[in-house]
Amino acid sequence: MLPDGTIVAADLWKRFRADPSRQSLRARASNVKRHMRGRGRRGWRWALQDVDVRIEPGESIGLVGINGSGKSTLLKILARVMYPYAGNVDVVGRTGALIEVRAGIHPELTGRENIHLYGTLLGLPRRMVASRFDEIVEFAQLEDAVDRQVKFYSSGMQMRLGFGVAAFLEPDVLLVDEVLAVGDTGFQQRCIDRMRAMLSEGTTVVFVSHDLASVESISERALWLHGGKVQEDGPVRDVLAAYRQALEHVSELTADNDGIVQLVKARVVASEGDLLRTEEPADVTLVLRSSQPAAGRVCIGCSEGPASPIFLLRHDIHLPDDGEVEAHCHIEHLPLPRGRYFLWVGVFLARGELLGWQPAAHFDVAGPDLDMGPPGIGRLSPVHVAASWQVGER
């Protein structure tokens, strides 16, 4: 018998009707007719293909992947709401799921009734729901609204109630789909804190999000799904780095390069030696071609992915009529720890742009890894700071 909180999913396959609207008898009849004539193969679309995951109790795992990659389907199968087409799933213990905003929330009932209903759906005795009731109301900041029908709640309130209920009724496994986006920043932070608290109590957390920073801050491990297959599964940093790089690849292809100003060359090199190193000088070289004279501002940025840049630098620039300009930027101390990064370039006017903000090159930095902080905190910090410590008794 596996301990509570274990998730074992082996060889999962899931398919959907390519055209799910066939529900009337008439459509079915015509379908059967076509089928008998040997035409009309039924259209299926694979949502998951041979997915294997094993998650131990107390582990936190982030699911990442582009839209339609199968994240939500996998989560629904783990929540036992959906059944796989092939393979096996075993989720041991009680599952609290927050799938789609307003999970487990019934609009006609009041907040109070919803909390009780959801608790009973999870299979909890009434006494236990009653004992956690105040905590949930306080966490969700509902106050007087508990006795109002949920359909009159704002979407933020519904989300808070849903999360509060799922997170406070002590599940062994917490499944959270992209929901934090609705809450305000303060609430997002409290959700993340709550998830961490649950992790430290031994709850297994499976977390789906497009916000890679929050995935990084909660999860130790990440699973990257692409086209219904597991692309990569491992420590969160490695998987996210690979995922970011793949995203970069996509955005590189879409980068628009036929405006007034064109980027001819972009390069980041070490000022001395051939490897870029943490805390050592680096040179950025850009070559821009313009078709008409203009005065603007060139911006360069550095990021780990399409997310917000780690730092930005900018400088005024004059572009000639039909010619090329070379710009150099010398960075004295590169503040990046070891890893792969992207150089972003754009040329802007006071209003409007001459060259759209786009990833132009990637580069690797050699150097020390960042010090790892306590779970969920250290990974959010991307900057390397040179420091020395002295610790002694006093």
Partner: protein, 279 residues
């Protein structure tokens, strides 16, 4: 993603149908059924003026209509029993059946959004609809009491047969409700047809008239196809006439109901695996 081979056949997911495990799980969720019944009753009667009295209105109006139609126009034989009392016993049983079926059959489709988010054994929804109809019927029994007083008629001592008859009726009702609840998720058209079928069923069942209207040689087949017929006949015989039910017909109905219950439950569990896919 076309031309994907798909998984090897031996990996295909087959949900094991183990009745004992399923019943045990259902039993562990009995509290959930209570909460759902309470929710349903609350939601239905909370915002109405006369509240629970609504459960009395439908069977009462039906009785009045039946009295005018069957008694005055068709002159149904009641063997000395006042017609309102005679028909109301049948209507009470019918109210339970049709109330359970009409609510239970759509219980899954109505709760799909909820079902898409939380796991629970899905049969709690149709079962709680049946239980809700049971509460309504219990309330409607008040009118039966009033009729007994009005006509100064005491229920016969043989009424002890009622629980057994009800058990057969319950099996039939639960089985049929579960089957339809699952099927409607896939074939929504049934939802439109159901009220009409229930109307027809009311006239195809001896509710407003007696079993005697049907030729006696048809009774066994009729009882197998419509188990409600010997059941309602049995209610009348034991409550009003002081006679035992026609046990041979009730036995046929019981076998037929048991088959429907088992088949309905198993087919529901089979259909259950796809509910979330069509939602």
């Amino acid at each position: 993603m076309e031309a994907v081979e798909g998984p090897p056949a031996e990996l295909l997911f087959h949900r094991p149908v183990r009745p004992i495990v399923m019943l045990r799980e259902l039993w562990s969720r009995r509290e959930l059924i209570l909460v759902l019944v309470e929710r349903e009753l609350r939601a239905r009667y909370k915002q109405t003026r006369i509240g629970f009295a609504w459960a009395l209105v439908t069977p009462f109006v039906m009785m009045v209509v039946f009295t005018v139609f069957f008694k005055r126009v068709a002159d149904v034989k009641t063997f000395g029993i006042p017609y309102p009392l005679y028909s109301y016993v049948g209507l009470l049983a019918w109210t339970f059946f049709s109330g359970a079926l009409s609510k239970g059959a759509v219980s899954i489709t109505q709760n799909l959004t909820l079902l898409n988010k939380v796991y629970c054994p899905r049969e709690v929804f149709p079962i709680s609809s049946v239980a809700t109809a049971g509460v309504d019927t219990l309330i409607a029994t008040v009118i039966l009491g009033v009729l007994f007083v009005v006509y100064w008629f005491a229920p016969a001592a043989t009424s002890y047969w009622v629980p057994l008859l009800f058990l057969v009726q319950l099996a039939f009702t639960v089985g049929l409700t579960m089957f339809l609840a699952g099927l409607i998720v896939y074939v929504r058209d049934i939802r439109q047809v159901l009220p009409m079928l229930l109307q027809l069923g009311l006239f195809a069942t001896p509710v407003g008239y007696g079993l005697e209207v049907i030729p006696e040689s048809w009774w066994p087949v009729y009882s197998a196809l419509n188990p409600l017929a010997p059941i309602i006949d049995g209610y009348r015989r034991c409550v009003l006439f002081g006679l035992p039910p026609r046990l041979d017909l009730v036995a046929i109905a019981a076998v037929s109901s048991a088959v429907i219950l088992v088949a309905g439950y198993l087919s529901f569990k089979r259909m259950e695996t796809g509910f979330a896919d069509v939602a």
